[in-house]
Each structure stands twice: as C-alpha cells, then as structure tokens.
C-alpha cells in the first residue's frame, strides 16, 4: 500500500528572543528529524507532554508552518517547498480542526458562511448547490438545518466543534489533521465528538492525524500511535501494543501516570522526576535520560535513533521489549 503522506527527516526550528535581549537570539528545535509515513484510512495518534512538539508537527504537516528541513510528500506531490499559492489547490485534500472552537470560528459570520466558504473558494458552485451542500454537512455532523443562520456564540462548545468539523470535511479531504479536538470539551460531550469523528472516518474514508495529550482518548481513536518527547518520536507502533506493552521507558511512564477511575490490580505507577527539559537547551545523548528511571552511562552520551527490534519501533538503547 502506498503511503498517503511520506514525511522524511522533518525539522522545525523557531528563533526566540531578539538580539537586544540578554541571552540574544536562541533557537528552539521544536521538531527534530521526524520521519513518518501515514497510510490511507488510518488514524495516527500523536501524544506527548506540552512542549514536545506534537502540535508543531501537526502544523508543519498541514504546511501552516514553513518547515526548516526535510521532505514532505503528500499524495504523490512533494510539498516541502511549495508557496502558499501553490499549496492552495492541495488544501482541498488536507484540512485541519483546531482545539479551541471559540477561537477558530469567526464570531461575525453565520454558520452558513463559515461552512460555505471553502466550497465557494475551491469549487465555485452555484448558490443553490452550496446551500444544499451546507445543509447536508450540518446533518452529517449532527446539527440542524436552521442552525445555519446562527452565529458561533449561540452554540455550546461541542456544537462549535461540530461546526469546525463540518467545515473541515466540506471539500471531502483525504487527510484531516485534528489538533486537540476534544481537549476543551466536557467528558460527556467529548465522547459525542469522538464518536462523530469515527463515524465520519468510516463514511468518508478519511485519514486522521490526531494530536492530543489525553491518552485514553488517543487509545480510543488511533490505529497507530507516535509518542513524542522534545521534538522527536521516541516510540511508534499500533495502539494496542503501545498501551499494553510499551517498549520505551518514557511511554511506559506516561501511560502509568494516567489516573484511572477503576482500580486496577497490580498496577505500578512510575513517577517521573522533574519536568520536560527546555528544547532551547536539550540534554546530551538521549534527551529523556535525566528523567529516565533506567538510564545508564551510554544514554548520557549516545543519542538513540528509532530502531526496530522484536517487532517494536523505539528510540532507546535499553528498550523494555
């Protein structure tokens, strides 16, 4: 099967500070040499703590950010260096849903216009056709036709996220990048949106990149999961094996840290010490070694790369499996 999206050695650097500040200009390596291949129809979950680069990676994939290094081949086209204008026709095939439904919808436009905009820009359809398409989209995401004439502030958080999703699927894209789509929602509403995304994926044969920090949600939606730490992928694999038998010590600690409502017997919690180090000045060797419970001398100097061993892909000198 050919990959829908082939990402090779992607890096994204930001310059922070100015030459007038005390430390001068500094470089943050937000995404550091990520290679991925996204298969059509799958959901790739990207997880990690804040500052690990998962959102930046998502935005690089949709080319909302210029990439610093690497190669992006989407649906057979090399898009790494395309200009905004050259990207435009490709945006039809690649859409994004953002975390904050309050911030991503223009408060001064009606829902109809918000959803119709991509249709008008990309398809130049007659008005009647646009109207029926919008009504169809609203229905698909579980909203009512008369919602079209309302403004975003008249909706609850969950409904706003539905509007954002309707807009993203309007052009029948191949890939939808979801950046923390349910993090701002209450638990009861979160489940509705997770189910809606699963229904749409089945019906429209969508491919998802699902960025989230909530591990239970990621487990529920993902086919494969990539765990990120300080800009790099430390482990990638199918969702069940990542959760049931993690290979990287960081993955293991991350999963064990999630509090569970149901007391599970014999579960040992690994409490990591310290915080995520700054990507401005990352640690030597394996970037996880200062917090790693099983770090050895080699880890302090030698940076591990993603390798396949025992059917698992992890960047660790001493993987658990």
């Amino acid at each position: 099967m050919t990959a829908l999206y082939e990402i090779t050695n992607l890096s994204k650097r930001f310059t922070v500070g100015s030459r007038f500040s005390r430390q001068g200009k500094r470089v943050v390596q937000a995404v550091d040499g990520v290679s991925l291949s996204i298969q059509p129809g799958e959901t790739l979950g990207l997880v990690g703590e804040s500052g690990c680069g998962k959102s930046t990676l998502g935005r690089c994939l949709s080319r909302l950010y210029e990439i610093s290094d690497g190669k992006l081949v989407f649906d057979g086209t090399d898009i790494s260096t395309l200009s905004t204008a050259q990207m435009r026709p490709l945006r039809r095939k690649m859409q994004m849903v953002f975390q904050d439904p309050y911030a991503s919808l223009n408060p001064r436009r009606r829902v109809f216009d918000l959803i119709a905009e991509p249709l008008r820009i990309h398809l130049s359809l007659p008005d009647a056709e646009v109207k029926s398409r919008v009504a169809g989209l609203l229905e698909q995401v579980g909203l009512l036709p008369d919602h079209a004439q309302r403004y975003p502030h008249e909706f609850s958080g969950g409904q706003r996220q539905r509007i954002g999703i309707a807009r993203a699927i309007a052009l029948e894209p191949k890939l939808v990048i979801l950046d923390e789509p349910v993090s701002a929602l209450d638990v009861s509403v979160q489940a509705q949106i997770v189910n809606l995304l699963a229904d749409l994926q089945e019906r429209l044969k969508l491919t998802y990149v699902f960025v989230a920090h909530d591990l239970s949600v990621v487990r529920q939606v993902s086919t494969r999961i990539a765990v990120m730490y300080l800009g790099s992928i430390v482990e990638i694999g199918d969702a069940d094996s990542i959760f049931d038998r993690p290979s990287h010590p960081y993955t293991q600690a991350l999963i064990s840290a999630v509090p569970k409502p149901v007391n599970s017997e014999g579960r040992k919690r690994i409490i990591l010490t310290g915080d995520v180090p700054s990507p401005i000045n990352p640690p030597s060797g394996c970037r996880f070694h200062p917090r790693c419970p099983v770090a050895q001398d080699k880890c302090r100097v030698d940076r591990p790369t993603l390798t396949v061993a025992n059917g698992r892909t992890a960047a660790c000198h001493f993987p658990i499996i």
């Binding site: 804040s50 209450d186 638990v187 840290a257 999630v258 509090p259 569970k260 409490i271 915080d275």
Partner: protein, 318 residues
Amino acid sequence: MILEVTNLRVSFRSERGLVRVLDGVSFTVDEGEVLGIVGESGSGKTMTVLAVMGLITDPNAVIEGSIKFRGRELVGMKPREMRQLRGKDIAMIFQDPMTALTPVYTIGWQIAEQILTHQKVSKAQAWQRAIDLLAEVGIPKPEEAVHRYPHQLSGGMRQRAVIAMALTCNPALLVADEPTTALDVTVQAQILDLLRKLQATHGSAIIFITHDLGVMAELADRIMVMYAGRVVERATRDALFADPKHPYTLALLNSIPPLEGERPHRLQTIAGAPPSLMNLPKGCAFGPRCSRKFAACEDRPTLTSPPHETACFLIGAK
C-alpha cells in the same frame, strides 16, 4: 465535623432575572477527610467552594443558606473576620498557578507575606519558613527558589509553590480547585503524590474539585457528583465507583474511553449538553438527557439518606 454546609443557594441578579447557580447544596466535611466534588463545567462545583471561601464578591450575588466552619457561621461574616480565617484556617489552591501568584514579587516574598499576616514571627523566621515549605513540597534548591519570580518556574513547580503557600499556616481545611488540570500527566502524578503525602503528614481536611474521575479515584475518600447546581449523588469512593446509582454518574463513567482491555467500537454518550442555568428544565435537571426518564421525573427528586445518597426517582421505584 469541620465544615457543615446546609441548603446553600447562590444566585446572581442579571438582566434576564435571577439566575440560580447553586440550588440547595448541603454537605459536610469531617476532620482529615478528602471530599471530592465532580461535575462538568457550569455544574456549580467551583461556585460551591468560592462560597465557602467567602470569595463571591459580585455585588449582584445573593447567598442564602448556612456554611458553618467549626461551628462558626461564614455566610454574612464581616470581610475583616473572614480574612483572618482565610489563609490561616482555610486555604485554597487554584487551578492556574500563574494567575494565583503575583508576577511582580518573588515566590519567597509571597509566602513570607502570608506567614507575617497570620503569625507573630520575625521577617527572618518567615523567610526561613518559606524555604522549609518549598523544600517540603519538593522544589529542588529551595534556598535559591525563594528568589525566583513565578515566570521563572515551570507549571509543576509553580503549582508546588502555590501548595506551599496554602500550607503556611497548617490549615484545617484545604480547598483545591482543579489543581492538576493545567498540568501534564507526568507532572500531575507528582502533584497528586505530593498532596497525598501532605495530607498524611498535616492531616488537613481537603475539598478537592475536578472533572477528571480518574484523579478523583486517586485521592478522594468521599465523592459528591454535581449537576446544574445540585448534588445528584454522594457516596464513599469505593461505593460510587463500584455501584454508581444516578444515571448521570453512570453515564459519565461510561463515556470515558477505557485505558485497558477491548476498545469499544463507539463510546457511550450522554445526549445533548448540560442545560443553561438561565433556563433549567422543570423537575429533574438531568431529565432531558436521561435515557431512563419516566413520569415521576417531572418533579424534582431529593437526595436519599446516607450512606449512598442519590437524587433520582429510580431509587426505590423499581
């Protein structure tokens, strides 16, 4: 019993009439107990503790009912008296440590200020106590950390500093409003671990608010579930998780994706969204979203008697 809240009602006068955000909330907290309050946004969990803390300062707020702290009535207490109690006997940890700390003073200054307000000690002693407290909450190199400003600390460290500040006077009651929500899971695990240790050493009673039932299971002795400004269920932690009786509690537990075992094809959901407090349904507030609604739900259910209290007509109806 350290805190006794009886029939607490909080309403706000608004252009569209009186909006009742808390409607007859009653609960007690025993010495050394951890009471958890869960609920979605707008359920009134934060408003409940703000009322306890005497922090509802909106002139349009109407507070009725009784809040007794060690027998003393807090509703209607003079701000001066309340100030003496707050920070000393009752302390609070907020969700966002960045807004709970002032950005223009060092961590040490802020902790020492609170000690000096409530205790007769010298400045040097207060400063030393600040260092000790930072050490106790696990901040590395506390003698250097006291000189740091909030923006120089990470989120987890800031929350530790806020906890240290809450502990200055060894409060009898600690109110924690979503103290780990803004943190990453690995840091959240550290903070929960810390709160558990501190609770064991200091013996403070804790009211712990969260929307995360997993966090609740880690810490709470008893759990109170709130919906639309009312208490819908209250029981010990084990009883609540083993045998949730209110359809809302049950649905809430079922809508969380599992971390182990088979992944369900689709998650169980609760239809609709929490009601607007401006326009509460008649009778049971959860009625319109409830899958087991029946005729009796047109009236408002009251809480059954302890130990496992539920506000639902299904109990006893069979």
